[in-house]
Symmetry: C2
DNA sequence: TCTTTATTTGGCAAATAAGCCAAATAAAGA
DNA sequence: TCTTTATTTGGCTTATTTGCCAAATAAAGA
């Protein structure tokens, strides 16, 4: 049962890494292809050191990987199922909004 | 662009809810079917109030939903794609372990 | 109505995470 | 070699989260 605990913790680490707006924003941007830290800084709109720390959290969780090329370090997505993750959670959010909307409708509150 | 920010934040909230060992453990247990809070307490091995607070985080993120029946409140999974989430992240963890293992092998460190 | 049982809430202390500045590193170019 | 540029690390403060206790709630049963 201890192996199970470790496994749960590793899995939680992945979700936790994705569970921060700035990190998710950067990961979402990486879906169109790799980007260097400076590009990600512009996208995130945060201090370079903050961005760097967020990226290392994502890297340690296995969500992204980095490669140095020339002067820059390029980050890209390494969690293969990320697209389906995001598609799924996005569908869920959308259906929730529709549900709320229909509740408002049936209550005639608008 | 502000709607996008909101959207990212809502999505991050889902991941954040799953990003805690105790919460993920409970969610994983719920995959076999609904459970009352007291059952989840036994599984989590934490104080009842702690469990209750974790459950409300999961509920607010839309991961689980609750229904009162008789004396108890039963929680069940409402995030439809949870199974594929977990299957995917688990496959990813497994491949990472295999990768590390083959690295150890090729370095003859064991 | 009074208890009991199941669950949530309030409040607080301890642990953890975030974000910024300054300093370190590392590699490329002059 | 000395600068410059890109990125990471250390350190510190502030904000957030966690987890427990005690108290509140709510509904069922005696």
């Amino acid at each position: 049962m201890d192996a199970y605990r470790e496994y749960i913790e590793a899995q939680a680490k992945i979700f936790k890494a994705l569970g921060h707006p700035t990190r998710l924003l950067m990961v979402d941007a990486l879906r169109t292809g790799e980007k260097c830290v400076c590009e990600l800084q512009t996208i995130a709109g945060a201090d370079m050191s903050t961005v760097s720390k967020h990226l290392s959290i994502l890297r340690e969780a296995g969500v992204v990987s980095s490669e140095k090329r020339g002067t820059n370090i390029y980050y890209s997505i390494s969690l293969c199922c990320l697209d389906s993750f995001l598609a799924c959670s996005s569908a869920m959010l959308q259906s929730r909004i529709l549900q709320q909307y229909s509740m408002i409708q049936s209550n005639q509150k608008d």
